[in-house]
Symmetry: C2
Subunit: 311 residues, 2 copies
């Protein structure tokens, strides 16, 4: 019965789309669903997100919160269609959208016109993309903003699992005949007192909890050193890599990153793994992006639409 | 040099999406591009239209006018993304949107926020969906509204080619040594006067022009007899067929048609060919829809996403 809490649950990242603004045959615009401890968090929602989700057989019954990095169309034009569809599916749980304050003004007239008969509330939670702060937490996760450097106010997100309960040493529990109803208390730190009155210290029964997972999403952004301390040591970093090095000037002008720059951030932040995405439509073959990133940071992979990454 | 005007040009219908409101693995929501005499006219623009167009290698350099049947999301949510992309592609030609008057109020704030740097104008041409009237014409085509019966004001569209110029009998031209600069005038109806002053009557040089094509689009609508005279004899009719007969009650409640009802309209209007679409997501296999329609009107086909129909 404690397995659900303590099993070394993996994080799962569903890449719904990892293209950039111009649609291509291979890539839908940005959207992801992060699964942590059985809950789903959506990050960005470009046009066609609900269509891709259907293609991926992705059910979203455990999706309550959507985080929008910035108000460019390729990161938010899919919201209205998806919300309308949730309405047709008779969703009842409220939906929470965390975004730049302008989104509420933009989306509300559309919701009032197209989604008059939906049976749930859409709640907006505006945040300030220029600040690094905690914008959301539930029982298992904290979400922090990561200020980015883009043509419009933009923010990445750091998802930090909270520390779970310690693991129980089953054989020690059996040895001391601990009754099942006591196990919960031991997990919460209590010592165990035997029938004879002997106090067995808590640490004998427990192993440290699974280290909490951390996932960071940084898109869209120019190369931005201030990201580095904010994503220090994360298990998985998704960083945009719109261009290869030969387009470094264009990257700077449009306030995007090269694959090499994404890898530079990953390396200096000592992250465990890097996933690059948000590819410019000019790269049908992304080998050059992968090669340039790996020269700097070996543990790099290319994101692909409809891919599921466990970490 | 007259070939471009007089060659028996076919009509081409690009089915971009023919699903209904709920996205499926097979179908995107409604959108089509009709090509007549080398010009493109878009009808409806559901979410993901620009993505599908990319998958179809559909270039839209000759697209100037978009006709929106009604303001349900699956017929118009793709507009904002497509217009934003046209902006990135540095389109310069103005884009004309014919729709219910409300669309301008809904779309303008989005255009002002997301499309500030586009190099073309988006012009709205509101029409009254309750009226059957001419809403647009250019040199080769007239477009009429077809009032439909749906939960919100909705209108189909009749595209009517204008009568072209007569065809020239090349061998008669050669026989009378008609100089090339005179041919245009003969096409416009003038007689020919030989060098000897002999008047050769116009009809000797000409064959009647290619009969003008007519295409009608009717979606979304309940069974609606008043459509029949308005689509009488068209070369191709696209009619929604959201449900099979066993869902006839649901069709009536939601103001959609069954495949059989679509065929009934086609038959009574003596159209040449019928294409059905706007399938409910419940039909993964559409054989039942095709069978029920063909029982009433033999020359019926199922629309498929990314299909090109010549007529």
């Amino acid at each position: 019965m404690f397995k659900t809490t303590n099993a070394p649950l993996k994080g799962k990242l569903h890449i719904i789309g990892c293209g950039s603004a111009m649609p291509t045959k291979e890539h839908f615009p940005s959207s992801q669903i992060l699964e942590l401890r059985g809950k789903q968090y959506m990050i960005d929602c470009g046009e066609g997100t609900q269509i891709r989700m259907k293609q991926m057989h992705l059910k979203t019954t455990r999706l309550g919160h959507i985080f929008i990095s910035h108000l460019h169309g390729d990161h938010c034009f899919g919201l209205i269609g998806m919300i309308a569809t949730f309405g047709m599916l008779k969703r009842t749980a409220d939906l929470h959208i965390h975004a730049h304050p302008d989104l509420e003004q933009l989306l509300t007239p559309l919701l009032n016109y197209f989604c008059t008969d939906i049976s749930f509330k859409v709640e907006f939670h505006p945040f300030n993309p220029a600040k690094n702060e905690l914008i959301f937490e539930d029982r298992s996760v904290e979400v922090y903003t990561i200020p980015l450097k883009h043509r419009v106010p933009a923010s990445g997100f750091l998802f930090k699992e909270k520390i779970g309960l310690p693991h129980i040493k089953r054989e020690v529990i059996d040895f001391y005949n601990v009754p099942p109803y006591k196990i919960g208390k031991i997990k919460l730190g209590e010592d165990f007192v035997t029938e004879e009155g002997e106090v067995i210290p808590n640490e004998i029964f427990t192993l440290p909890p699974t280290p909490p997972l951390q996932y960071a999403y940084c898109s869209d952004t120019a190369f931005c050193e201030s990201i580095i301390p904010l994503v220090e040591g994360v298990d998985l970093l998704y960083h945009e890599a719109t261009f290869a090095e030969d387009e470094a000037v264009r990257a700077r002008q449009t306030m995007h990153s090269t694959a090499r720059q994404a890898a530079e951030i990953a390396k200096r932040a000592n992250v465990k793994r890097l996933i690059i995405g948000h590819y410019s439509a000019r790269y049908r073959n992304k080998d050059v992006l992968l090669r340039e990133a790996r020269e700097v940071f070996k543990s790099t992979k290319l994101a692909e639409d409809m891919q599921v990454i466990e970490f």
